[in-house]
């Protein structure tokens, strides 16, 4: 945990060699907190204001050091695994510090601008060669607009390309504050039908659609991103309406539109946080389904449409097993 000095960023993950959040090779900084509650959220660890503790079964040797130590008596271990009493746990972090196997981890660390800048600068060579840079994601990074503004300002001084990943839901002022230091806006348009949008994300999309109009008017570089979630956003109507909005209301002045296929990698995260996930039993899409939505998106007249993400083939099923088994837990962080 970094010591408090001046302004602090509240961050739950720094992903090096990130290749899915903007052009080139990037470092994506995942900020905590989000005003939306999307049913398919892939980064549930971003949602909470206070730090929370996670338990990684594969790392636990069952030594009970943490249980002996916990003053709140919030931990218990049985054959099902570790139970964390979320009401009792005050996230003091003592168990995290003591756990020999790093099976207990604290989600959320405070970073100073200086330290964060030093950390992301380590990969400068790769940004230069790939025309990549830094992405602020989350959660909704702009919730911490003071910090992100200061951080991006310093990034620009150091010559890094900056991308802000946003829901667009916050008041315009929040984004306007960061505005001078953002090279690329990764803008989520998830669902066009406002009733559905409220149902899926807990908020209306009115502000979201207004804010993107403002950015277009300001001639900003924008990549629109639409998560394609089966039974939710994955409908022909939705894709067509977002496409028509881009063409008609935004004068087709965005730089790229990404359709992101649903993935179920967050399953384990929800389990670790003792949370239910509405998408737990959702199947991956077939590549043909993604191709179908992709064709619809293109047919609306939007230029530079792309699709990416996991789809249901023998190979991807295998690679998912591989990820859950072999990759460090942090690799599961995905944009939604």
């Amino acid at each position: 945990m970094k010591m408090m000095e001046s302004i602090q960023g509240y961050i739950f993950e720094i992903q090096k060699m990130s290749t899915e959040d903007g052009p080139g090779i990037r470092t994506t900084v995942f900020f905590k907190m989000c005003p939306l509650r999307c049913v398919w959220c892939h980064n549930p660890e971003s949602l909470f204001k206070k730090p929370s503790i996670q338990w990684f079964q594969v790392k636990c040797i069952g030594c009970r050091t943490c249980i002996d130590l916990c003053k709140q008596q919030a931990l218990s271990l049985d054959e099902e695994g570790m139970h964390i009493d979320r009401d009792e746990c005050i996230a003091c972090g003592e168990c995290v510090e003591a756990c020999p196997g790093t099976a207990l981890r604290m989600l959320g660390e405070y970073w100073s601008v200086e330290d964060l800048l030093n950390e992301v600068a380590k990969d400068r060579a790769y940004y230069v060669k790939s025309r990549g840079g830094i992405t602020a994601s989350g959660g909704e990074a702009a919730v911490q607009s003071d910090f992100v503004t200061e951080f991006f300002k310093r990034c620009k001084e150091d010559g890094f390309h900056t991308a802000l990943d946003l829901s667009g839901y916050l008041p315009k002022e929040k984004y306007a504050q960061i505005f001078p230091y953002v090279d690329l806006w990764l803008y989520d348009l998830k669902e066009f039908d406002d009733i559905k949008h409220q149902k899926f994300t807990g908020v209306s999309n009115t502000q979201i659609l207004e804010n993107i109009k403002w950015l277009v008017k300001e001639n900003r570089q924008i990549w629109v991103r639409t998560p394609i979630i089966p039974t939710y956003t994955a409908s022909e109507k939705n894709i067509r309406e977002i496409g028509n909005f881009i063409v008609n209301e935004l004068d087709n002045k965005i730089d790229r539109w990404d359709l992101l296929a649903f993935n179920n990698l967050a399953k384990a995260k929800y389990a670790r946080m003792d949370m239910e996930w509405a998408c737990n039993d959702l199947d991956l899409l077939l590549p043909e389904e993604m191709e179908y939505f992709f064709e619809i998106a293109k047919s609306t007249g939007v230029k530079n449409v792309k699709w990416s993400g996991l789809t249901k083939t023998v190979e991807t099923e295998d690679s998912q097993r591989k990820i859950s088994k072999f990759a460090p837990p942090s690799c599961g962080v995905q944009k939604n």
């Binding site: 992903q15 090096k16 060699m17 290749t19 899915e20 080139g24 090779i25 790392k59 040797i61 030594c63 050091t65 020999p100 196997g101 790093t102 380590k122 990969d123 060579a125 790769y126 230069v128 060669k129 790939s130 025309r131 990549g132 792309k306 990416s308 023998v314 190979e315 295998d318 690679s319 097993r321 591989k322 990820i323 088994k325 072999f326 990759a327 460090p328 942090s330 690799c331």
Partner: protein, 835 residues
Amino acid sequence: MSNASEPQETTSLKSKYNLAEPHDLSPRSKWLRDYYFRGLDREWNNEYDPYSTGVEWDRIWAELDFYIVPEAMGFMGKKKRGPFGSSIDLMGKPVKLPKIFWEKSLPERRMIFFEEAMVNNTPQEIVGPSLLAGSRFNLQLSKCFTQKEEEEFNKKLVKDIRPSVWKFHEYGFGNLGATGGHLIPDFPTIINKGFKYVHKLAQDKYNELSDREKRGAKGEEVRAMIHATLIPKKLAEKYAEECRRVAEETEDLERKGELEQMAKNLEIVPWEPAQTFWQAVQSLWMAHMLIMAEESYPGPGDSFGRIDEYLYPYYKKDVLEKDLITKEFAKDILGSFWFHCNTAYDGQMRVGGNQGITAGFGQLLTLSGCGPNGEDLSNELTYTMLEVIDEWSPILEPKPNVRLHRNTPDELLDTLVDMITRSQGAPFILNFDERSIEGMVLEGIPKEDAWDYACVGCLENTMQGNDRSGTVNCNPNLAKSVELTLWNGASKFFKGKPEKNLIQFGPKTGNPEEFATWEEFWNAWEQQIKHIIQYTVEVYNKTENLRAAFLPTPYLSTLVRGCVEQGLDIRNGGPEIRFITIEGVGFATLVDSLLAIKHFVYDEQKFTIAELKEALVNNFQGKREYIIMQTTLKNRGPKFGNDLDEADELARNIMETWSSETFKYKTDTDFQFRGGMLSWNYWAGEDAAYTPATPNGRLANTFLSNAICPTNGADINGPTSVTNSVGNALGGKTDDGKYVNYLPNGASHTITFNPSMLREPESKEKFKAYLRGYIENGGTALQINILDANMLIDAQKHPENYPHLLVRVTGYNTYFVAIGRELQDEIIKREMHNF
């Protein structure tokens, strides 16, 4: 042999995974490749062929070459010749020798014997539709000792050298021994000027000698060299006869014409300068195969250097300008070369292999790379050779290294990334020029020459044609230095097991239980690592001196600049550039162990030295506290490979100490020692088995870290972070951006990516950018595996479906199904980097 029946189709892969398969091969190349893979079913093969002088004391197998394969020690005997030596000696076919033979000096005897065995006793055969002559080279040659020489050699071996080397190994210090190969001979001179030129050079040298010198060792050696230069000529003449004989029997007019042209080629090369591309490759092959025959340990790092540079003028003239041959025919000439390189393995067909020993022949070729002014030197032949590699893959030999640098064109990177995409492991190692060149400069090569380095063996950087750098001769186990420090200079473990009595090896640097600070521990460690280097040098020199006195190789000496000029054998101080590399084994195991001591004993004071020692002796087993300690050491605290300043700084300090200390020593034969971190397969072999538990939480008898890679699973920050750490450990860059490299010979970094990374064109571009970033921040040599862990698990279950699945281990390809289960598991466990 000309009438080999049509080989069967290689069985097609039944696996559900996408494996690299040979493709687009011409009928000739396909025949050759399929024929090679028929292995024991072939009617022709290149199995070991031992030849003897026929005297009862004759010695054919000199074990020195194999000291660096410690697993073979059990077969070498204690007081007598062991099973390996005696059985080969028994099989030796006596060669008829001239009467004057025993009156000649040892080097001259060796050449008389070599000629008799190679030219007059070994059959000359043309294999199938091959376009190259020169097929059998797996000779095991008598050492040609007189009885007196044999007695002297044997006495030194049994009384002193063998026990010293054994002791070094069994106490866990690693392995060492003067071994063959590992160099790039001066092939351009042979191709461009012919052996005729070297013959004259040697004769002129002889004429310059004083009468006294002529009567002495120099005279003996130079006379042997003069003789040596004639052997390729005589062999070529025999092969020319064979070509004509087969041509007469051949009805196919096209093949008849080829065989007649091959005969004509052999009447020119390798004695005269090559006139065509075909002759240039023939000349190269014959010069090369004779080295393997002479050293009688075929192919350990006998490398070709920058082959796309020195063959290019011939290719350009014949293929691009004069249309003398088509590109397809040029590829068939290269295909024939590929085939013959692989037959080096025929000697081991019957014994099989384990833990990658079958992959021990690094006949390396170097492609692309920069010129004197940083400009790129790739040419059409570079791409043609890459095509051959791609079409022949998976195949073990020759092993290609591709040099990258800041001015590498996008076109080349595109080709390479496409090739990587299509295979489970990149069919080449990438070598990085800027940092590599700094390493050559560090060892004293002038900057204006250093750009023309190339790689031998696995990936070791040396100069071409004049450099013998003994790149795997000394392989000390770095973990031993921590043990010596913890036990005040004494060894606590024998064959990896704790001993009751301590045996003092190193200096008494104090009982670390009484050290108050990390600095005291570090200083003590420095003394111990210095001692290990000194001890390595001391034991190694015994093997080096024996080899220098008794095992000259005059033929090879004619191919390395400096030897003829000085009248000295390559094994006795002849080459212009002379190094012996001390390759530390288990670098990251050492770094993480010292980091753990610093962090947990001194910074956090979580454990005491006494507690740590007790846990290590018990291999962290038997008590709850030990298990908690082991888990803590393994999982917590800083680890090398994550771009952490604290870890990388310690890694760099260790490297600097290693590099500067190794440079302080020379052999008695005037070779300079230098530092390396190759670790070949020792990190997974008996040296790992003989390593007790280490303070980084590693259990006894498990693998050490590999080359310059992090310990298994310790790097959790992704590919860019591990790349930065590797570059930092080698020295990083100065404040004004100049590359630093403490290891002249370079160090191998293996990284495994998931296939998903290269699926999309966009991600391919990002991967190319990553490689360009590697040029800036990374190490000297990168091996890329593109492997799906599930595929490997499937291959363990159904090896029959994966006979040709190649994986990279340290600096070599090996067939996954041919390696031991433990090493398979290790490869599966390696972190898969996911984009």
